[in-house]
Symmetry: D2
C-alpha cells in the first residue's frame, strides 16, 4: 500500500483528482496471467509482449488484478455520468448528513459553446463575448441565489436533506472512487473520447495520468489495440472485399514479408545466406536479386512478429 | 412477458412508478431452488414453506431468478440515492440529448420539517405555517428562475449539456430500471426503512406493491425474517445470557413444547393417546394431568415446526 | 412472462439447453433507448435502424433491458468455463445435498482430436481409429469405475459432499442460468468463437438460437458490428496508411458516392434531374455522362446512409 | 502496495492461501467514511468506534475501500463453491493451456465421516478404521488411475482440453483471487460457518487470518455484529413478547442503567455527587442507598453507550 497524498491534479475551476492508493501495476498483470497461461521467462521486454498479447486478444481478467483508488471533487452533473460505471466502489459526501459548501462550477469562457447540429450530445462553434458573459452571469446568479436560500433555510433549522433539493447540479461534490484497471480503462476509453462531455473528459484524462505511471505497458497496449485502432463492420468489410484490388493486397503483403524477415532477424540474428530463404518462407515473392536490393536499402522497419502475421491473415481474408 | 402498462402508482407531486414487465414469481423461486435442493412435491403450501426456508437461511440465489422492470419518474436528488444500487440496469432520460422539461418537485407542506437533532440524516418536528410558506416560495423561485434561464440559453443555441448545469436537483428525471427480486428486496429493505429519506421511501413503497402482487410468499418471508425480526449483537447477547433468568427461558420453552405438539398434530392428526408422549418427546415437563388441562383450554396456537425448533435452540443458548 | 417449456435443444451426448423464460425483445431495447434518446417514430424499420445504431456505437444499456432464463445440463468442465461470466444468476444442482446421477460425457469420435501445435488452447488433425477407441475406452473406464466407487461409499453412508470428490469433470451437472441480453451476447461472442472449446460452443450456439428468435434485430446487429467486422490495431492501421495507394481509396470512395446516391433516392425518391447534383454533393467525381451510364447499369446496391458516411470517413483517414 | 510473499498458510494436504497484496486497512475504512459522514477527530479509539458504528448499521460501502489479493491452491470441488462469489476477480490455472499436475486431495482420516441425517449438506459420526481405509484406497485408486490415463493420452498427443475431462474434482487447481473487504467478510461469514463444507472452511479460515491482521477493528466488529449475534424472526419476536415477563425486562434494563452510568463515568469522570442523578437520568429506579451499595460492589462492567441505549430500546419493544 502506498499513500500517494501529493498526486493531486486540478480539474475544472474547483475540482481535482487525487490518486489515494493503488495495488499492483504491469507486474501484477503479468503475475496473474502466468498463473493461467504458464510460467515462461520474465524479462521486462517479455512482460510488455505478454501484456500486449493479453490486450490484443481481450483477455481482460489479468487487468482486473490492478486496483486504483481516487479522491475526486467534481460538479454533480459530472458525478451523475460517472456513477453509471457500476463496478466501482464509491463513498460520496452526503448532503443529508453534512452541510453543502459554497462551491459551484463556472465554465471557463472558452468552453461555452453552441449546441452541435450534427451531434445531439455535443457542442461546437464560437459564441459571441456578449453571450458568453450572459452565460457566466446566469451561472453566478443561480449559484449564489440558491446557496443564499439554502443557507437561510439551514439556519432556520429546515432539514438538510430537504433544503439541498434547490441546489443546482453545478454544485461540487466529492468522493472516494475505487476501481480495477480493466474497468478504469473502459471508463477512460468512453470518457476521454472526443464525444464525451468536456467536463467529465477533464477528470478522465487526469485519471489516465495515474494509469500511465502505474501501469505504462497496459496503458500503451490499450491505446494501440482498443482506442487507436480502426474497426470495419461486416458491411464495410464486404465493400472492402469487393472494391479493394487483390493486387493492392498482394503489394501490402509483400511489404509485410520484408518486415517479418527483418523482425525475425532482429530478434535472433541469422547468417547472411539464411535471410532470403527466411523471406521466402514468410511469403515473399521477389527474386533474390530484388530482395538484396531492397534489403540493403535500409528502409525496412521492424515490428512485432505475431501482429504482422495476424495482419497478413486479415488482408488475405479481404481478397476476392 | 407481460406488459403491465396500467400499473401506474403516483409518487410525490409529479412522479410515478410503473411496473413495465416482470419475469417469474414465487413459482420461479421454487423452480430454481428445486434444481439445487432436489425435487420434492409441489403443493402450494409447500412452495410457501420452501420460500420461507430459503429466506430464513439466506439462500438468496433463487430469489435472483425473478426480474422486475419499472418505468419511474423522480427528482434528481432521489435518483442520485437510487442509482447507488449497482446491480440494476438503467436507461435514463438524457439532458445532453433532450431538452429538460419544466417539472420540479415542490414538497407538500406536511413534509417540510426541521432537521432532526438526534439523527443527522433525518427530519422531525412541526414547522410554522410561515416558514413552510417561505420554503415553498423559495422552491418555486429557484425552480422557475433556473428554468427561465435554461430556456433562454437553449433558445440562444447554447449547448444543452452545459445549459442544464444550472438546473436544481429537484428537477424531475425519468428512467427504466430493471433489477432482480433479491436485490429489489434489499433496495426496499433500505429505502422503505424509517431512516430513509421520505422522498425515496415513497418510490420504494410503490415498488413494494409490485413485489407483493408478483411474489407474495417471498414478500411475506422477507418481512418475517429480514425486516421485522430483531437482532442482538454479541455484546447484547452476552448481557441477555447474564441477566435473563434460566427459569424464564424454561417457561418459554415449555410454551414452545405445547405449540410444537399442536403444530405436529395439526400437520398430521394423532390418536388422542399419542399426544402426551409426543409432547414429552418435544421437551414438555408438565404432568399428564396438567397437559390435558392446558391442551383442552384451546389456547394453544400452531406455528411452524422448524421455526419453533430453531427458536428453542436459540433460547437454550441464552442459558447460563 | 412466457413459459417456453418445449424449447429444448439437445447438446453433446446427454446435455441440453432449454429457454425457460424471457422478458422483452427488440421492442424492449427500443423502448428503453427512447427514454434516453427521445421519442421519434416507431415504425418497425425504424426500430431496426435504432437497434443497429445503438450496437454500432456501443450503447449497451438498452440491451440489458432484455432478460433470458435457461435450464441447462452440461459436463462439469463446461460449467467451470461458463460460470466465469459473473453477471449471470445461477442455481446449480448440489452434490452436497443430492446424489450424483450416473451421467458422464463421452466425446463423439469425430471430436477426439490432437492438441493443436499452433494454438495452445485448441485441437486439430485426424486421430487414428485405434487411438479414438482407446480414448473412448478410457472415458468409459474412469466414468464407470468412479461412479461404482461413489455408489459404494454412498451406500456405506459416507458423506455425499466427500464421496463426490472422486467423480471426474465429465460428470453432467445442471442449472438454471439467467442473464441479460447484453451480457448473453458477450458470452456468445466469446464462446461461439472458433477459439472456444468445442464442448462449450455447442451450448453457446444453442442459446444463440433463442436470442435469434427473441430479439432478431439485436442478433443481426451484433453479428454485423461486433462479430463479423474486422479490427485493425494502431500498428496495422499505420501500415495500411503507408501502403494503401490513395488512388485505391479514391476508387472505393467513388463507389460509395454512387451507393449513397442510390440509398438516398431509395429512401426518398428524387426527380431524375436531381440525381446527378445529389451524387456530386455526396462526393462523386464522374462526369454526368459517365454517371448516367453507370446509374442505368442497375448494378448499384443500396445500403445504410449513416454507415456509408462513417465508412467514407474511415477511408479518408487512411490517406497519406 | 506491499508484496507479502511469505504469508503462506497451508490448507488441507497440498493446498495453501497466500496473501499476495492488500490495499488499505482500518484506516482506509475510516478515511472513506469521513468523506460521507464528516471529518470529526481521528484518535485511534474513535476509529474503532466509527468502524463499529458502520458495521452495526450496515453501512457497507466504506468496507469496500479495502482490497485483498490472494494466491490459493485448492481442489476443484472447493474452487467450484468458491467461484460462486461473483464480485471477486479471478485468474485460474488453465487445463486447456497447461498440463495438469499430479496433485490430488486425499482426506485426512479424521475428516472422513458419515452423511448427516439431520443436515442434508453435512457430515457426522465416527467411521470405522476399515471404512476410512477403504475411502482412502478408493481416492488413491481413482486419482492415480485417472492421472495415468491422462498422461498417456497427453503423450499420444490428444488435445489437453479433452484429456483433462476424465480428471476427478479432487485434483488441485490454483488461482489469484482478489476481492474487497466487504465481500470478503461476507465470504468468510458463509464459508467459515459450521454449515460450510470442511474443505472450504479451511481456506476461509486462512483468509480470515489476513483480515484480522490487515483490518483488526473491522474483523472484530464483523464478529460482534454479524457473526456472533442472535436474530429473532418476527414470529419468534412475537413469542418473546407474549412470554417474556415485563418484570424480567425491567430487571435487565435496571442492569443497563448501571452499566450506562459506569460507562459514561469512565468516558468522562464525574463528581461523586453527580453519579446518582446520572443513573436516574439513564432510567435507574433503585434508591440512592441501593445505588451506592451496588456501585461500590465493583461488579459493574462498562460497555459502549450507543449500544447499551440501542439494547434498551429493543428490550422495551418486547414489553407487552
Amino acid at each position: 500500500m502506498s499513500d500517494n497524498s501529493d498526486n493531486v491534479i486540478k480539474c475544472l475551476d474547483k475540482g481535482f483528482v487525487r490518486l489515494v492508493d493503488s495495488m499492483g501495476g504491469d507486474n501484477a498483470i503479468v503475475q496473474a496471467a502466468r498463473v493461467s497461461y504458464g510460467k515462461g521467462t520474465s524479462k521486462l521486454s517479455q512482460d510488455r509482449g505478454l501484456i500486449r498479447y493479453l490486450m490484443r486478444h481481450r483477455h481482460s481478467t489479468p487487468f482486473e488484478m490492478v486496483e486504483f483508488k481516487f479522491h475526486c471533487k467534481m460538479p454533480i452533473f459530472v458525478a451523475r455520468q460517472w456513477v453509471r460505471h457500476r463496478t466501482a466502489n464509491i463513498n460520496e459526501y452526503s448532503l443529508r448528513y453534512s452541510e453543502a459548501r459554497d462551491e459551484f462550477y463556472y465554465p471557463d469562457p472558452k468552453h461555452i459553446q453552441f449546441q452541435s447540429a450534427l451531434n445531439k450530445q455535443g457542442r461546437m462553434g464560437e459564441v459571441t463575448p456578449e453571450l458568453k458573459q450572459k452565460v457566466q452571469d446566469y451561472f453566478k446568479e443561480i449559484s449564489e441565489r440558491s446557496f443564499e436560500i439554502y443557507s437561510e433555510l439551514n439556519q432556520a433549522g429546515i432539514a438538510r436533506e430537504l433544503a439541498r433539493s434547490i441546489l443546482p447540479v453545478n454544485l461540487y461534490t466529492e468522493w472516494y472512487w475505487k476501481n480495477d484497471l480493466h474497468n478504469l480503462l473502459h471508463f477512460i476509453g468512453l470518457r476521454s473520447d472526443s464525444h464525451a462531455q468536456y467536463e467529465i473528459r477533464v477528470f478522465s484524462d487526469a485519471m489516465a495520468e495515474s494509469v500511465k505511471s502505474v501501469a505504462p505497458f497496459a496503458w500503451e497496449a490499450y491505446q494501440d489495440y482498443i482506442i487507436k485502432g480502426m474497426r470495419f463492420s461486416r458491411i464495410e468489410q464486404s465493400l472492402l472485399e469487393r472494391t479493394l484490388p487483390d493486387r493492392v493486397i498482394d503489394d501490402i503483403n509483400e511489404d509485410i514479408a520484408y518486415q517479418l524477415t527483418a523482425t525475425l532477424h532482429s530478434n535472433k540474428p541469422r547468417e547472411e545466406t539464411d535471410l532470403y530463404p527466411l523471406y521466402i518462407k514468410e511469403g515473399g515473392v521477389d527474386s533474390e536479386e530484388d530482395f538484396k536490393l531492397k534489403w540493403d536499402s535500409g528502409e525496412i522497419e521492424i515490428g512485432n512478429v505475431r501482429e504482422l502475421r495476424e495482419f497478413k491473415l486479415k488482408l488475405e481474408s479481404l481478397k476476392n
